[in-house]
Amino acid sequence: MILSMKWLSEFVKLDDSVTSRDYAEALTLSGSKVEGWEKEGEEISNVIVGKILSVEKHPDSDHLVICQLDVGKEEPVQIVTGASNVNAGDIVPVAMDKSTLPGGVKITKGKLRGVASNGMLCSLGELGLTSHDFPYAIEDGIFIMQEDCKIGQDIQSAIGLDDTKVEFEITPNRPDCLSVIGLARETAATFDKPLELHTPVVKGGAGNITDHLSVEVQNPELCPRYIARMAKNIKIGPSPRWMRERLRASGVRPINNIVDITNYVMLEYGQPMHAFDHKFVAGGKIVVRNAKDGESITTLEGVEHKLTPDMLAICDIEKPSAVAGVMGGEYSGINDETNMIVFESANFKGSSVRLTSKALGLRTESSARFEKGLDPQMCMAAVNRACELVELLGAGEVLDGCIDIDNTDHTPHTIPFTPDWMNGFLGIDIPAEQQAAYLEKLDIKVEGDKVIVPSFRADIEDKADVAEEVARMYGYDKIPVTTISGMARGGLTDRQKFDRLAEQTMLSCGLYEIYTYSFISPKYYDKINLPADSELRRSVTITNPLGEDTSVMRTTALPSMLEVLARNYNNRNASAALYEIATEYYPKSIDELPDEVPQIMMGMYGAKYDFYTLKGIVEILMDRLGIQNWDVEPQHDNPTFHPGRCADLLVDGKVVGVFGEIHPKVCQNYEIGTKTYVARINADLLYAAERPEVEYTPLPKFPASARDLAILCDDATPVRDLERAIRSASGKLLEKLELFDVYRGKQIEEGKKSVAYNLVLRAADRTLTVEEADNVVKKVLKALDAIGATLRS
């Protein structure tokens, strides 16, 4: 909402000392947020009114003329112009030497084809105006002024370009503030000044409306109130300058007197108005009804719209002539031939206007107001104001009477007045009378123990709403600052600590945290080689996505991780190691919310990384999270991974994740030209796993015996089989088992490998004898022998 300060001053007189900045700050703090302000004509300086004394031909040019001008100084000023519409005696805007014009234009004196020119004569455009502002002037020539002004006067005051426009951000609960009067009320309350409202007075006397018009409202739910008034002998022409100035300052383009009046009233009262040409109201009857299937209307902007039965239309006895609250029809609109008009001042249900305007893709000043819910009790004042203006402008003669189809309840809404509760709720202490006085400033009356809510404040429903009015009039800044009392059980939950620990562990393993989108393209499932019948292809689908790339909620975060790895590879980052705790979304039935499961995602590429680096991080993670009963199982069938370099992660015998080298085909799909390693581990399942409390074990009192064993076995034997055999054979005495070398090649038979282990044996209660240690080794060798592994000789 753009407010003209000149217009505002008709209703509230502010002290001269109040600057635009003071005004903006005060209104912002009392609840009407000011987005900015602009002084009209601010960019114009040193442009004054001049009178052309003479026009002579330029000696060296066919299209230039030399003008002598009286600009109110002792000497006339000589200016050369190329315009052809200037004559002696014309009053024109003169940009003097060292003047400025809109758009940063600077004018200085100079010579045009050898003749001195001490400034410039201005067109409307050069002053930032159009012929809508001055309908008598032409746009492609000098602005020949017909204004009542003095020679030498500043152009701003001469043509009324000296208003200040203040732009407000009005919240949707305050449609009453989408009007000059609404903002004047807020201004008066904020500055503690009287609000001077005016009651429209209509002379009438040009016949009776009921002789020409009838109105039927078929859907009172969508149209609670409809008022029509008429005028005849309409003389279409430009509206007066003061009206055009106010419209222009409010960002509305002046058209003609009748259209301008409807816009003026809308801006002043916040009540959208419409004017029909009576001649096109077939049957002299206005019917407010839902549109019928197949009906359409060509609206004022010349576009045909198909209407549907859920839309409310203003019709005559035959067809729709306006979309209620949105826009009028082209056919029944005001034109130069209009003789008799019908003013509509109605109230339409906000949600209906909103849906209709959305469906038609038509958002207008009118619909923007109606959809927020307007006061049905202002229709009468608004229509009377329009008729008053018709008379004031001499634009026509107003008929007596009005048609008012009123299905609204005029009983004011009341709320208990609870000053003590208010003080307690806000944390302030102001007496009841003071609270009432704050409310009265906003035209909210307090009578006894009741707050009487005026009809234009439908947003005030409850005592909390009344509290807000008191609080903002008192000043939010004056409310004290206190701390909440009482203890509270704050802090992280076990789960949050678990997640933090997992993240800290990955960070200390060198992984960088990433953030990826939760939605992906369904095509990404192909990119990770997911089979056509995979259950993971069933995803939660967005019905109105921005694009295919972000149209389904991911059932696997693998594509998200791979995409980031690919981007880094593509940006020539030599290596990358990343993690994210990423949510996946698994659909359930159609009306159930999906399961949202956090997955620990890790991904890496680069010279430092291979399968075992990734596995090492997984192992550290298990250790730090206190998960003991975990294991890995080779996984040959996961289509995203290398069939020989992929493993499932098992906890308590259940698969909780997968990790390994990405399948070269998948890397190709992502255009990653290097080996890439990714892990995906279900964080919920990890958290659910048994994680025994840490318990201290006393430090050993007796020395350990160490034995190194080099074991020869088939190359295909997983070392885990060797380890299992060693562990079960050595029993309690085995304190630590460490693989320190794997060797293939010289001195080793083809198809075999040598695996070297370091065994640390220890008893808690004694020093082991050599025999005891040797005995363990014997048992170990026997167990290894059983699985075809022997001591390397």
């Binding site: 807000e468 802090g491 109105n544």
Partner: protein, 339 residues
């Protein structure tokens, strides 16, 4: 004999001073003090002396012996020090060479800021609550006083899954779910991802993060709201931050406010950073609307509360001077490594 002792004393001193390594010192020790050494040889002749001379010479001999032992020890220490200094000199390195770094990852800037904010509220006794991102319309809108035809719904361009299921546009549904489950006192924050159908550009993303907070108890006032949030802002932006509360409108709070902090750059005068306003908007807040409380089964005549919410990315971008929101979701290491 006395002369012989004096003689030993003098020569020993010269010899020790001339000794340049530990081996020579050992030789001298043996030749001077050893069983076959010069001093021992003299002491062996003590028997020949008269009873008067014996104590005098004995005392002198012990004195000479003690002196030689002392000088031997001093010289030994001197030589050891010299040897160590020579070794240390040899071991000199270029301390300006770069150190060896172990690879440690870095936290994403969104998490850095979120963690900081969480820690501030945890310090005030808040706990952290999460909720579903794919949410029911009922929780995202209706129970927050935003019925189906409410105009404010238009300002939050929503991604829909079905008519009743959507991607949450705010973290506020977590407040509703908490109030339904937990009886007051409630003191929670709910950070998380939210979704709006905004096309991607330097300042918009269809996915971003919010952090909301909720306090419900007997006797919670608007003054408490101001105190809590002012404390939060001062912890986040420094004790000298200046804040103001400005009336605003949210459907789920009444009274509602927006909290501005005085522009750090121009201190309220108005500059490019604050778009001439002198203030920067940080968060929205207000007293929980009685309808919302009632809808969650909490009696607004007994309990009151306040709620607040803020966009995390904007705070992140301002903190690190990041001018393009897309960087946060591109995850280029050259970007991530800067934090």
């Amino acid at each position: 004999m006395k002369g012989a002792l004096e003689n030993i004393r003098v020569t020993a001193r010269e010899q020790l001073a001339a000794a340049n390594d530990l081996a020579r010192l050992e030789e001298l020790r043996v030749s001077l003090l050893g069983k076959k050494g010069e001093l021992t040889a003299i002491l062996k002749q003590m028997g020949k002396l008269s009873a008067e001379e014996r104590p005098v010479i004995g005392q002198l001999a012990n004195q000479v012996r003690a002196e030689i032992e002392q000088e031997l020890a001093d010289r030994m220490a001197e030589l050891k020090d010299a040897a160590m200094n020579a070794k240390l000199e040899e071991e000199r390195i270029d301390v300006t060479m770069p150190g060896f770094k172990s690879m440690i990852g870095k936290t994403h800037p969104i998490s850095l800021v979120l963690d900081e904010m969480k820690d501030i509220f945890i310090g005030m006794g808040f706990s952290i609550v999460a909720g579903p991102e794919v949410e029911l319309d009922e929780y995202n809108f209706e129970k927050l006083n935003l019925p189906k035809d409410h105009p404010a719904r238009d300002t939050q361009d929503t991604f829909y899954i079905t008519n009743n299921i959507l991607l949450r546009t705010q973290t506020s549904p977590v407040q509703v779910r908490t109030m339904e489950k937990q009886a007051p006192p409630i003191r929670i924050i709910s950070p998380g991802r939210v979704f709006r159908s905004d096309a991607v550009d330097a300042t918009h993303s269809p996915l971003f993060h919010q952090m909301e907070g909720l306090v419900v108890d007997k006797g919670v006032t608007m003054a408490d709201l101001k105190g809590t949030l002012e404390l939060f802002v001062k912890k986040l932006y420094g004790e000298d931050s200046v804040v103001r509360f400005r009336p605003h409108h949210f459907p789920f709070t009444e009274p509602s406010a927006e909290l501005d902090v005085m522009c750090f750059n121009c201190h309220g005068k108005g500059c490019r950073l604050c778009k001439g306003e002198g203030w920067i908007e940080i968060l929205g807040c207000g007293m929980v609307h009685p309808k919302v409380l009632r809808g969650c089964g909490i009696d607004p005549d007994v309990y009151s509360g306040f709620a607040f919410g803020m966009g995390v990315e904007r705070i992140v971008m301002r903190k690190y001077n990041i001018d393009d929101l897309r960087l946060l979701f591109e995850n280029d290491l050259r970007f991530l490594d800067q934090f």
